[in-house]
């Protein structure tokens, strides 16, 4: 087994996803400790535009073929399986995402290499790699000692920082030699776009987020009033969207948007990992939830264990007062 760190790259509509860069950054750190190399495996079609973003890697294994233009678990899985057959990196990192999750399990079964999901930390102790994963909705963490064979690890996006500066290296590009892939049983048909939204919540500086604690659609108006007073927009966690109280474009979380506003106010949101993932890098997070043990309080900057429905109108009033004072 080499001391190399491999990263499976993810890209969407011509841009590399942040998770890939985060993993390259972390991979760099891990590889350095063991004098290994950082290798990125990039599958796609017309990927030349992405190569420039991968300067942080030592090696980039590329397969630039039309069948990789869109992600299908089968095609990517088959290609990666072939690549990993004769390679024995120390660890293969991928995002715990729509792409990575499918590949993680498929590859683990096909190659026989162990795997780990929901990883949020990677540490080296005594030369061994330890991964910490979150389970039970974030209520517990499990620290796992990775074995001496190649391990596949899916990492929760946002667990590691995106490198600030673009790396200045010049990675070696290697074409992946792939035998003819068997006739695929999975084919991409089309991309379904989200319904045209009113606001792009990723660009709004103040977000008033509502969760199940808001109880019913009528109470949304209170959140909207506060958002208006603060010059922001209302967004929500998945349960609210599933109920149909707000459109998909307002969903924050793993399967929704990732936002980094100046102010993120969470009302009646428990802070499940899927939601946390989408907003944890907000500059100021203030959470309001009647349950003082809600997971969101572990990560928020400020919190109040009061009833969101009670607090909302009071906050709006105070903000309006402050606005007036400021204006005068």
């Amino acid at each position: 087994m080499s001391q190399d760190v491999w990263i499976l790259a993810e890209h969407f509509q011509g841009r590399l996803n942040d998770i890939t860069l985060e993993l390259v950054g972390k991979g760099r750190e891990l590889a350095q400790a063991k004098q290994g190399k950082v290798a990125v495996v990039l599958l796609g079609s017309n990927v030349n535009g992405l190569m420039s973003e991968l300067a942080g890697a030592d090696v980039v294994f590329v397969a630039n073929r039309p069948e990789f233009r869109e992600f299908t678990p089968e095609a990517y899985g088959a290609a990666l399986e072939a690549v990993l057959k004769d390679a024995h990196p120390w660890v293969v990192l991928m995002g715990s995402t729509s792409v990575g999750l499918d590949l993680l399990s498929l590859l683990s079964a096909r190659t026989g290499k162990p795997c780990l999901d929901s990883c949020t930390r990677l540490d080296i102790r005594d030369g061994r790699l330890f991964a910490t994963s979150q389970i039970y909705g974030g209520k517990l963490f499990a620290e796992v000692a990775l074995s001496d064979t190649t391990t596949l690890v899916a990492v929760v996006p946002g667990s590691f920082p995106k490198p600030e500066n673009a790396a200045a290296g010049r990675p070696e590009f290697q074409e992946i030699a792939l035998a003819a892939l068997p006739e695929p049983r999975t084919k991409f048909r089309k991309l379904i776009e989200p319904p045209p939204g009113d606001v792009d919540i990723t660009k709004v500086p103040v977000l008033v987020a509502v969760g199940r604690g808001i109880q019913n659609a009528d109470n949304l108006s209170m959140a909207e009033e506060l958002a208006e007073a603060l010059g922001g927009t209302v967004c929500a966690s998945r349960p609210v969207i599933d109920q149909g109280w707000l459109p998909l474009t307002r969903q924050v979380g793993k399967s929704g948007m990732t936002v980094k506003p100046k102010l993120y106010l969470a009302f009646g949101i428990s802070g499940a990992p899927e939601h946390w993932e989408g907003m944890k890098n907000s500059e100021l997070i203030v959470a309001v939830n009647t349950d003082p043990k809600a997971p969101i309080f572990a990560g928020a900057h400020y919190g109040a264990a009061v009833d969101a429905l009670e607090l909302l109108p009071l906050l709006t009033e105070e903000v309006r007062k402050a606005n007036l004072k400021k204006a005068s």
């Binding site: 019913n216 659609a217 009528d218």
Partner: protein
Amino acid sequence: MVPTGAQLGPVPAWAILWLMFLIAAGLFAWRAVFLVRLLMLGRPEMRWDRIPERIKRVLVYVLGQRRMLDEPLVGIPHVLIFYGFLVFLMATSGMLLQGLYPSLTIPSLEENRYLGPVVDVFAVLVLGGLAVTSFRRFVLRPAGLQLTWDATLVNILIASLMVTYLTAEGFRLVAWPGERAVWLPFGSGLADWFGRSEALRASAPGLYQGFWWAHVSIVLFFLAYLPYSKHLHLLASPFSVFFSRLDPPGRLPASAAHAERMGAERLEEFTWRQLLSAFACAECGRCERACPSHTSGEPCSPRQLVHNLKVQLLQYGPALLEKACAAADGGEPALIGGLIAPNELWACTTCLSCVEHCPVLNEHLSVMVDLRRRLVERGELDERLQEAFGNLQRYGNSFGQSERKRAVWTQGLDFKPKDARKGPVEWLWYLGEYACYHPTLQQTTRAFARVLHAAEVDFGILYEGERNTGNDARRAGEEGLFELLREKNTATMQKAKFNNIFTTDPHVYNTLKNEYPDLNHGRHPVYHYTQVLQDLLDRGRLKIEHKLPYRVTYHDPCYLGRYNGVYEPPRKVLRALGVELKEMPRSRRASFCCGGGGGRVWMEEIGEAHSRPSESRVKEAASLDGVEMLVVACPKDYVMFTDALKTTGLEGRITVRDLSDLVAEAVGAEAAARPQDKAA
């Protein structure tokens, strides 16, 4: 002199009358039989028991017209019209009989010196009553009262009956002045007036006959028409009252045993008494006016529900009757989704106002619940309700909190309440889920526990063994869930050791008292805590340290007041506390529901509610001069009204306090819970 003594053309007059009578009676009988056969489509239900009580009900509600006086403006005229009807029933029958048998001498009421004036005066009273009711119906147009040709025609028929009678009387007295021996005030007044005209004097006998025939013809027409009109309530209501439910209203009828499906939707799945509601309904609209959901603009209307049942029955019943002879099948379109929208059913809070105010003792609630049961059976319920049911099933509470946390509220007490499961205790305090889990109410629960402790009441609780009693789940239509909860709770209580039960939650009170048969049979009487407090105060076991100087009003909870008649104990307790009590206009059995019952707290808001029931109620409380506090005795009331204070902006004007909380304050129990928002 007898109007039918002579010939009418070639035929004796009495023969014509006989013909008319037979036709009218025949039409009437044919229709009546048809309607009864429609009722027989319904499934059987035993309502022949306890006959003396049933007779008493007929005397009180039909003869005594008790419920009419709930709305005096129309009630008094209706009473007059009703008694007028009874009087005229006798008078006109006499007239008819005489007409059919002209050769016999049948004593007539008009010729009786005592009864004659009665009939005469009643004719005018009825006209006066009609004038008021017509004014109300056609000019004032109260909600729930339909303007139909049927109603108009009925009014016209009754009025013309009175007018023809009086006019006939007048002409009779002109034609045969000897009859004046019997003093008929209005009849003779008319006679005097007619008598002034020579022409009228001359034709008086003929005119008398004419108006006599007119009167009798109208009556026969009315007889034939009656079973086709809403005036059918005249015939059907004595039966609907006689066959009304004697069980306490808090005991909901179970779903039909051995039925394949829960609840009812097809006509044949309702009981004959439920179908009878359709015919007994006079479409007076009292139920609708009393309904809190309807008043708030929600799509719920008890009157409409019964009306739609009638429409369905009349429209599709006949086909079912025919097929009953041939082969049994449907052909009946679905009631729900057809005439009745699901929202109309979900909007009901089960407050019982409709049943309480119905003059013919109809049971709108049982029809509604049966329809809900069918919706639940089909899985057609909103997600929040599904979630609540799932939580009740799994955790024994609708909040979705662990059952292990049921007694967490006891932390914060400096004593440990006894565990009735290990017992023995005198009193089992059945708390209910709101008292145990709701964050604000937990303080109130603790305060009351301290009151009991200080009064040295020997009480215990079931700790984690306590589960939701199922009152609201049952009324939301999940009969199976109710039975499951009842089984579990009964098993838990059977193992526990206690004598009596009391509870701070009227919903718990209602179902334990009325729907848990294995508890009853006198062995474990169930009380509401106000009854217990009243007793403690009476016996001096509870000392009021400081009288409370508040000016308050009290809201009668639906499940305590209207359902179970407990009106006085809370008031006695309040008076003992020293507060000044002012009653709201809608109090006691007219109390206006907070909107949270029947599982409504677990559902989405329905329709465009422009003023929720809870908001209407707090406004009513705030409208009372000088009243600063609304006292409640039910946790749902507390939650609904404190919310309503915020949404109506009345927070500074009035506070909401639970009665037990006031008791704790007056008794000086330490750290009596004080609400976070106080009156300014």
